[in-house]
């Protein structure tokens, strides 16, 4: 399989998981760059072009609360998990654990 196709498949595989990763990382207030850094530090490499629009979308869906704050002489938009977001995160986490367990069994059979 060529690299292009593998990249596309990898992107598809990661797309759904990114929502979970962003929600989980937003338990504490985060602004765009700090969120990206936190994800990177935890081994989830995501480019700005994907992350920033995704965060805005989650905020529009009410899963994240947002607030503009002045910090280090500059304004930044901070995002934090909302009450609805926390519920959704709990449900998605359970779903992920179950899926992960099933997948692990399947992959071990190969």
């Amino acid at each position: 399989m060529n690299d292009d196709r593998l990249d596309k498949l990898r992107l598809e595989l990661r797309r759904g998981v990114l929502v979970l990763a962003v929600l989980a990382s937003s338990r504490t207030p985060q602004y765009g760059y700090s969120l990206r850094k936190q994800l990177n530090d935890n081994g989830i490499d995501i480019d700005e072009g994907t992350l920033y629009p995704l965060v805005r979308r989650l905020a529009e869906q009410g899963l994240l609360d947002s607030q503009w704050q002045m910090a280090e002489g500059r304004e930044r938009r901070y995002y934090q998990l909302s009450a609805t977001g926390a519920e959704v995160l709990a449900q998605l986490s359970a779903e992920w654990q179950q899926l992960n367990g099933s997948l692990a069994t399947l992959l071990e059979q190969q």
Partner: protein
């Protein structure tokens, strides 16, 4: 350096919807400033390094699209129907443009092929542009109201799927029949869409005392259009609907044959040009043959449908 950043943000803003420009650009600026700050640990970035960073962000159009993706006018699920309607509409517009151009040819004292082709082309483009606008507007409105989704899901149940391939109602057939019926109605009612002057110059018109053919054909063309519309809401043929379809063909075959046999249904225009005079002197009899040929084709189609009915 900051000038380059502001130019980039302005380019992104230009691609965003007006109501979202301020908010998105404000946030994008804050994010980019954070990235710039993270990269300038060894000193401020020069224009070249900032250009590299902005290149990594992507083209302003792509960035704007990611933040505010535009909704398509037509949903991808509606595209097959949209394209089918446009194709049939385009065929109808082409025939109308051809008739108009041929009408002009009959009226003309001399024939100029280039002028004829240009007239044909512009007439088609003019009509098709209007059709494209109308069809797109209707599909957009219906899509927003959720009607197209309702239509796609019509009668959807595995048990209602056609038992045999022949029982499946073809969308393209229903739209073809609807288009044909509408075309016939347009032909019958030229007074509603052609100027008085153009009507006087039509190469053919109904003879005195033959108006009842117009009303008879209008009645059955309207029925045919309504039946085609009904079929658009169905997934499979029933025996009764197939019978109606056969009857529809037979009625028109009968009417056209009767018009051909009776003769004198059509007459020459009030103002006879050289071209029209030529037609009425040498080719007036061909109208009956055209009507008979149309009736024969409809009869053959009716027989083919009857053979399908027996296998339903």
């Amino acid at each position: 350096m900051m000038e380059l950043l502001e130019r980039y943000l302005a380019a992104v803003a230009a691609e965003l919807p007006a109501d979202k420009q301020h908010d998105i650009v404000r946030e994008l600026r804050a994010n980019l400033l954070d990235q710039i700050e993270a990269q300038q640990q060894d000193g401020p970035l020069d224009d070249n390094q900032l250009s590299q960073l902005l290149l990594q962000q992507g083209h302003p159009i792509e960035v704007a699209q990611r933040f505010a993706p535009g909704a398509p006018l037509i949903a991808s699920e509606d595209m097959p129907l949209y394209k089918t309607v446009l194709w049939h509409g385009a065929a109808l517009m082409a025939v109308i443009a051809l008739l108009k151009s041929l009408g002009g040819l009959v009226l003309a004292d001399s024939i100029n092929p280039v002028r004829l082709l240009l007239q044909l082309g512009f007439s088609f483009i003019d009509n098709f542009a209007t059709l494209l606008l109308l069809v797109t507007a209707v599909f957009y409105g219906a899509g927003q109201a959720g009607w197209t989704k309702e239509w796609r899901q019509r009668q959807w149940h595995p048990a209602r799927l056609p038992r045999y391939p022949l029982a499946r109602m073809k969308l393209s057939d229903s739209i073809t029949d609807l288009t044909s019926a509408l075309f016939l109605l347009l032909l019958l009612w030229t007074p509603l869409w052609l100027s008085v002057e153009a009507q006087q110059h039509l190469p053919v018109r109904l003879a005195e005392g033959m108006e009842y053919w117009r009303y008879l054909l209008t009645f059955f063309a309207a029925l045919s259009a309504a039946f085609a519309l009904y079929r658009l809401t169905q997934l499979s043929w029933q025996r009764w609907s197939k019978w109606c379809y056969i009857l529809d063909h037979l009625v028109f075959a009968l009417i056209f044959a009767a018009m051909a046999i009776k003769g004198g249904v059509f007459t020459e225009p009030q103002q006879l040009s050289d071209g029209a005079r030529l037609f009425w002197t040498h080719a007036a009899g061909s109208i009956s043959y055209i009507l008979l040929a149309t009736a024969a084709v409809l009869l053959v189609l009716a027989i083919a449908e009857y053979r399908q009915l027996r296998r339903l």
